[in-house]
């Protein structure tokens, strides 16, 4: 059964869901960077070990995981109802709800709201949704400076770089590289780095604190994402470690939140499940340091104006695929990135999307449509570590295989089929008839001289670049078996 929900995939050319560069080529660049591989290997193995410990100490983790999956599935199955309920609740409590079908529309809405406030500068809470739509670039084009206030996002922004991890955007950099960026770039963005700044973590944090404090105290508008929105009460929630998010959410006069439509939970009590699943899976903490929640506006306390922008940008298109929709359960914890052997070696930039790693390999192609991200479903050895780590039980390996099928099917009917397609068709034709297969198997013997002389043709050269080929046997198993009988 196909369900048509009306809205198209994310538009090309807006935001950061696809770089256009195939994963294998981008991965090759990343693999050549020894510093990157060392930074990543160190960081991911540390987080991996800590996460395993934080998860192991919860006796009912499997049940929590099942509950997380079930709550999100309920949200996805009844999204229409919950979204309208959320809009009613937010509106009743003094907020304004905006609906954005895609990145371009969301950027327009936010730009218009900031312009109406008269501000030329905004502070930002770390947010994947605004990275996804390229909001900073859109604001900049309108002459509005958007300052990231999450420490790692600040590093990435000052370094004119892009995030390479969902939770640890600057995971690809070590502290010496970070110090150099602060010394070089902070002055142009506001308060300069202190003289004689070292690469001690405490000194780097202090430099960021001084730099950001000025921004917090002068900003009139803040922009955030949301980890969760409670449909029954209209409450938004942001989960963070630094407290910089809390500064943005409470100090400026106007707060604009951009949220993917799948971030809903039906009821307040559902947060109990996710506030356990999320910190343990992401930062390996029992509880994250700052959980900020707000419901509409409260006179005399916090922002006096609150706007909620609900973003589709390919989400309903994802929802329409029964085999792919559970990717929308994702709570952006990045546990799958940290356990992924591919991510560990390539880093996030190779994926060309703000959503890297295993979840990115299933989410990005669905949000953009598979044609704009053809190589991502293949960026996995299907080892299954991601599925085991996922706190909402997204079966990423099965979904990757499904998306590969969509990629293959979208290329059917071309006048000139690819060599891979021809090879696959030939192999399938051979396997259909046992007698044919037996004869083809025997041909392996004729490959013996080629293997001996290491003269195999492409695509096997991709194999022989790093590995030897086994010598084909003189007799196949089935010939041995027949002879024996």
């Amino acid at each position: 059964m196909t369900t048509f929900l009306g809205l198209p995939t994310a538009p090309p050319g807006v935001g950061h869901l696809s770089s256009g560069r195939p994963f294998p080529a981008a991965a090759r660049t990343a693999l050549a960077d020894n510093q990157l591989r060392s930074n990543l290997g160190h960081a991911t193995s540390t987080i991996r070990t800590k996460r395993a410990r934080a998860v192991a100490e919860v006796p009912d983790w499997p049940q929590l995981r099942a509950a997380g999956a079930a709550i999100k599935d309920d949200v996805l199955a009844n999204l229409d109802r919950y979204l309208v309920q959320l809009e009613e609740q937010v509106t009743a409590r003094g907020g304004t709800v905006h609906w954005a079908r895609d990145a371009a529309e969301a950027n327009e809405i936010v730009t218009r709201l900031v312009q109406a406030s008269g501000a030329r500068e905004v502070v930002k809470v770390k947010s994947m949704a605004t990275q996804e739509i390229g909001l900073n670039e859109a604001l900049s084009a309108a002459g509005i400076a958007a300052w990231e206030t999450d420490l790692a996002e600040l590093i990435v922004q000052l370094g004119r770089d892009s995030p390479s991890h969902i939770l640890v955007p600057a995971i690809h950099q070590n502290r010496t590289e970070i110090r150099d960026i602060f010394v070089r770039e902070m002055a142009a963005a506001g308060r300069p780095a202190p003289d004689g700044l070292t690469d001690e973590p405490a000194a780097l944090a202090e430099a960021a604190r001084l730099h950001l404090r000025e921004k917090f105290l002068s900003a009139q508008v803040a922009i955030s994402g949301a980890n969760f929105a409670v449909a029954e009460s209209g409450t938004l929630a942001v989960v963070e470690s630094e407290g910089n998010g809390r500064m943005c959410l409470t100090l400026p006069r106007t707060l604009i939140t951009v949220m993917g439509i799948e971030k809903l939970v039906p009821a307040w009590r559902d947060l109990e499940v996710f506030l356990q699943l999320l910190p343990r899976s992401s930062t390996a903490e029992r509880m994250n340091p700052y959980t900020s929640m707000w419901t509409g506006v409260t006179p005399g306390d916090g922002p006096s104006e609150f706007h909620l922008v609900l973003l589709d940008n390919g989400r309903t298109a994802t929802l329409a695929d029964p085999e792919g929709r559970s990717a929308l359960r994702c709570i952006r914890c990045s546990a799958c990135l940290n356990v992924c052997p591919v991510y560990e070696r390539t880093g996030g930039h190779a994926y060309g999307s703000v959503y890297p790693g295993p979840i990115g390999a299933v989410l990005s192609p669905q949000l953009t449509g598979v044609d704009a991200n053809k190589s991502l479903p293949y960026a996995s050895s299907l080892c299954g570590a991601c599925y085991d780590a996922c706190p909402v039980a997204i079966d990423i390996p099965t979904m990757l295989v499904h998306l590969r099928e969509r990629v293959v099917d979208s290329g059917r009917g071309r006048a000139v089929p690819s060599p891979e397609r021809v090879a696959m068709a030939a192999a399938a034709w051979t396997m259909r008839k046992p007698s044919r297969w037996r004869r083809i198997l025997r041909l392996g013997r004729w490959g013996r001289p080629l293997v001996r002389r290491r003269a195999l043709p492409p695509p096997l050269t991709a194999w022989t670049a790093a590995r030897d080929v086994p010598m084909p046997p003189k007799q196949t198993f089935r010939d041995w078996w027949t002879e024996r009988a």
Binding site: P24, R345, A427, R432, P459, W480
Partner: protein, 241 residues
């Protein structure tokens, strides 16, 4: 009990010794093994690369070939994983109820070698002797798809003369991944490099696993390094006396 050997296309064509060892082992344990010669390939490579349509006849062929057996044993975790976890879904989407029932029925009786020995036969000591230093790599599909857990290790611990050496970061993928090794050859090689480093750290003479495919990849890398460490399938060790 009527036991069929699901030989797998890779073992049939490239690693016949693994098949012979599986036969030797099962016969030594008192089984009469049958090898239905109508079998070709389970279609895992096609399925995992996105060629589901091409794989459909293989799914149908597999179920038809193995329908009459009480147990179907294969020396491969990933092929068994494909039959058990992918074939039923493919058959259901073909909208052929009779086939779907047959596939469900057959796929429930397919076992990876260590599962068959430990779970079905209840044997952990197969009477093997293999006086070598061995390290074991748990392949991803045996580990995370079939959940064979420590069954292969229990079998290895009972092999006489065998010195079992623990592989560091054993549960990390070796980087094979079927067509992944060709389509993302550089990442695959980077993963292989780390796996080989860990194998070499154990000072083993032999690296073993339950999948010839992963062993072909790891062994191919070790051979390129002229490391002297040999890849040997679990079945060959268990068959040795």
């Amino acid at each position: 009990m009527k036991v069929a050997l699901f030989i797998t296309c890779l073992v049939d064509g490239l690693f016949p010794d693994v098949g012979k060892a599986t036969v030797t082992l099962l016969e030594r344990l008192g089984h009469r093994v049958e090898v239905p010669l109508d079998q070709t390939c389970c279609g895992q490579m096609h399925l995992n690369t996105g060629y589901t349509r091409e794989a459909r006849p293989m799914v149908r062929g597999f179920a038809g070939t193995f329908a009459g057996y009480d147990a179907i044993v294969a020396p491969s975790g990933s092929c068994v994983g494909s039959v058990r976890h992918q074939h039923p879904a493919v058959a259901r989407r073909m909208r052929d109820d009779a086939l779907a029932r047959q596939v469900d029925d057959v796929s429930g009786r397919v076992y990876e070698l260590s599962e068959y020995l430990v779970d079905v036969l209840g044997v952990e000591d197969v009477g093997a002797r293999y006086p070598h230093r061995v390290t074991y790599h748990p392949t991803c599909h045996s580990l995370r798809l079939l959940r064979v857990d420590d069954k292969p290790l229990r079998l290895l611990r009972n092999v006489r003369g065998l010195d079992l050496l623990e592989l560091p970061d054993a549960d990390q993928c070796c980087g094979f991944g079927g067509t992944f090794a060709l389509k993302n050859a550089d990442v695959s090689a980077a993963m292989l490099a780390d796996k080989m480093t860990n194998v070499l750290r154990t000072d083993a003479e032999v690296v073993t696993a339950g999948d010839s495919s992963c062993l072909m990849h790891i062994g191919g890398g070790l051979s390129r390094l002229r490391s002297g460490v040999r890849p040997v399938h679990l079945a060959e060790i268990l068959a040795a006396t």
